[in-house]
């Protein structure tokens, strides 16, 4: 009884700052044409549904709008790639889904539905039970994500026993199985090693083993291969793909490397300054990108699969500060096509519109202008 009574209380105090944020947010969103998909997602359809997720941080310098209204769906067995430069809010989004932000510091609003269960307003204890069990995360830097004082085995055993009622022996056996599954040689011996005794690639494998020990249905990989060499990166990407096939989990792949998402992702979400600027199937976004920022990202990459171009075509300027996000379309100071919109870029936030079947883009460019620029100016240079 008492726990049931205290729970909503705690929830309220935790959610208090959010409530304040909740109030003005929708109205502000309405005036700027915030993309509102459906108020209540059909949770039977999507395994993970994120609706208008906003994560803001109060700092001494002002309010940092790290994530400013992100919505997407993800099905079981599919992979969503989230790409963007540093500071675009991709990692903050993933930590938000996992419920890893300190509620005292972060103002979180919006909805995250995981298999029909809302997580943002949920009891932190409930989220803790789901975390590691139903949803798990692979972090970028395994050396700092693992505890240096405990053996790799002990850490996997802990992850297992927190969520499953199994004996130490069984959990240890399971840990060895997982290490074997992710390709660690001699798992019986290595299970007793400390993280520093593993090489970078093996540490990342051990991280994956730890994340998958409870067969999570949602796996979030935050820059899982950024710290690794290409040959090891290829091994890890193959491993993630195989494991996904085996377990049928939903995967969110966060990276700044378009090559990596092209290897794995079915769907793609391009983030800029805390917002989604383009979303669609990976094939659509790579072959017919619609947002000038996506064009810039593609133009920035030297490509091994094409003839070598004389010059790269990067986006000019640098990503904006998230405290003073530019008015209107946040990309407008760097966009070469601002002039084509009669000034609306500077004042009006572009709505995320479905421009083709399964392809959304948030840009003021008219369809004709966009197609002309893409076919005449951008595509030939890529």
């Amino acid at each position: 009884m008492s726990t049931a009574g205290s729970d909503p209380l705690r929830k309220d105090s935790d959610r208090d700052p959010l409530r304040k944020e909740d109030g003005p947010a929708p109205s502000a969103g309405a005036t700027v044409g915030e993309p509102v998909l459906t108020a209540r997602p059909d949770t039977a359809e999507a395994f993970l549904a994120v609706r208008d997720l906003k994560i803001h941080f109060n700092t001494d310098d002002g309010l940092v709008r790290s994530v400013d209204g992100i919505s997407f769906d993800l099905q079981r067995g599919r992979t969503l790639g989230i790409v963007g430069e540093s500071g675009s809010g991709k990692s903050v989004t993933s930590l938000g889904i996992m419920g890893l932000h300190r509620t005292a510091k972060a103002r979180i609003s919006g909805e995250v539905w995981l298999d029909g269960e809302e997580l943002i307003g949920a009891d932190p204890d409930r989220v803790r039970r789901l975390r590691g069990m139903k949803m798990a995360m692979i972090f970028q830097d395994p050396l700092s994500a693992m505890h240096p004082y405990y053996t790799v085995g002990a850490q996997i055993v802990e992850a297992c026993r927190v969520h499953q009622d199994v004996s130490k022996q069984v959990a240890r056996k399971r840990a060895i199985e997982m290490l074997d599954r992710v390709g660690i040689p001699e798992p019986h011996q290595r299970v007793a090693d400390y993280p520093h005794q593993f090489s970078g690639g093996m540490r990342q494998r051990a991280m994956i083993a730890m994340a998958l020990v409870n067969n999570p249905e949602l796996l979030i990989a935050d820059e899982p291969t950024t710290a690794l060499d290409v040959t090891v990166q290829a091994q890890i990407l193959d491993l993630i793909r195989d494991l996904q096939k085996e377990f049928g989990s939903a995967v969110i792949m966060i990276t700044h490397d378009l090559g990596v998402v092209a290897e794995l992702a079915d769907d793609l979400l391009v983030m800029y300054a805390g917002r989604c600027v383009e979303r669609g199937t990976a094939e659509k976004v790579f072959t017919e990108p619609q947002h000038p920022y996506t064009w810039g990202l593609l133009g920035s990459m030297p490509r091994m699969d094409r003839e070598r171009t004389e010059r790269l075509n990067p986006v000019k300027g640098a990503p904006p500060s998230l405290i003073n996000v530019p008015s209107g379309c946040a990309f407008h100071p760097r966009c070469p096509y601002v002039g084509l919109n009669g000034g609306s870029s500077e004042t009006i936030v572009p709505e995320l519109r479905e421009t083709a079947a399964g392809h959304w883009s948030a840009c003021h460019l008219g369809e004709q202008d966009r197609d002309r620029i893409w076919t005449e100016e951008i595509a030939p240079k890529l």
């Binding site: 430069e85 540093s86 040959t231 290829a234 091994q235 090559g259 092209a262 030297p302 091994m304 640098a318």
Partner: protein
């Protein structure tokens, strides 16, 4: 190549005196133990490499972490003392010059560092940082150091009015530009850039790559660019050296290296690069190397790659393959090279399907 109007064509490397020539360069870092600091072993970071860089060219150096590419960069700029071998700059032996003797040469050899956060003194203004080379080298400038520094800042695309700002006021990409301005201050002949763009965001990376390119054609610079990103290296380099465990395993012109890689390791590296095209995903075949790079403290015998190589035979574990120069300007150190011209072809026809890996990852049409 139409774009190489200012650069010296490849073929001349053999004839003309290269700007930089490295022969048998060795660097071993001793591992000591006990109170007497007795040497018990050595990290063989660089173990006998031969390289040449022609004036006006860009040499790209690629390899996995721990292969000794950064150590090599620091050796040729003489930030480290070589254990053995010879470094010649403009025909002059600089291998064991003292710090004082090196000083006049520092005008001609400069370095761009990887981390734009730790390579700039946070207590100095940009003006002091970029102006330091003039002061240290006692170079008199016509219009004063300040004017010169402002010109440099403009050259690398920074606002000259930011002369009095501190490094923390700049973004990563801007800091890297400051590092470049400092390296270019005394109009060096050779610039060694150690991972110049790997710490930067994709769009900023491309800006800095373009800047390095422009500066090269404007000032006639010679670059040695060290990077682990094979697509960046392909974009910036004329000639590329692939390193593995302290050795150069393959050197070739860009087109030849990416088109017909000969060393199995180069093939594996190229096939591992993710291609930003989801349609290719199913068609591609990767050569997956097993395991990790062996330790440079105790490198494998014979060919150092034989422990991970799918073509390895007995000779590989006993005999070290020398770096053989072919007529095409391609140099490779392998007993069983792939894509070899008919003459050098050995009985290596027992390809295991992995043979066609590189052709898929990097189609011949790329040439």
């Amino acid at each position: 190549m139409p774009q190489e109007d200012v650069k010296i064509p490849q073929q001349s490397t053999a004839g003309a005196e290269p700007l930089l020539r490295v022969t048998g360069l060795v660097k071993h870092f001793p591992i000591t133990k006990g109170m007497l600091r007795r040497q018990v072993g050595a990290v063989q970071a660089v173990d006998g490499i031969d390289l040449q860089v022609a004036a006006g060219q860009t040499l790209g150096v690629v390899g996995e972490s721990g292969c000794g590419k950064s150590t090599m960069g620091r050796l040729i700029t003489r930030l480290l003392e070589p254990t053995g071998g010879k470094i010649e700059f403009q025909g002059r032996d600089i291998t064991h010059l003292s710090v004082g003797e090196m000083r006049p040469l520092r005008r001609d050899v400069q370095m761009i560092f990887q981390d734009p956060y730790s390579s700039l003194n946070p207590r100095h203004t940009i003006g002091t940082i970029v102006g330091a080379p003039f002061k240290l080298q006692k170079v008199a400038t016509e219009s004063g150091v300040k004017k010169e520094v402002q010109n440099l800042l403009e050259l690398v695309g920074l606002n000259p009015e930011h002369y009095n700002r501190y490094p923390h006021e700049f973004s990563g990409g801007q800091r890297q530009r400051i590092g470049i301005a400092r390296a270019l201050a005394l109009k060096p002949k050779l610039v060694v850039a150690d991972e110049p763009v790997s710490a930067l965001d994709v769009s900023i990376q491309a800006q800095v790559v373009n800047l390095l390119d422009d500066l090269q054609s404007e000032l006639g610079l010679t670059y040695v660019i060290i990077a682990h990103d094979l697509s960046v290296i392909r974009h910036v380099s004329d000639r590329i050296a692939v390193m593995y465990l302290g050795k150069v395993v393959e050197v070739a012109d860009r087109e030849a290296l990416y088109g017909q890689p000969m060393h199995p390791y180069t093939n594996a590296l190229l096939s591992a690069v993710p291609v930003p095209d989801p349609k290719r995903r199913t068609a591609r075949q990767r050569i997956l190397l097993t395991g990790d790079v062996p330790s440079p403290i105790n490198p494998p015998s014979g060919c150092r790659f034989h422990t991970r190589c799918w073509k390895a035979t007995e000779v590989c574990s006993t005999q070290e393959p020398p770096l053989i120069a072919l007529a095409t300007g391609h140099e490779v150190a392998c007993h069983h090279p792939e894509n070899a011209p008919a003459k050098a072809q050995e009985k290596n026809a027992q390809g295991k399907g992995a043979e066609n890996g590189p052709a898929i990852g990097n189609q011949p049409t790329d040439l």
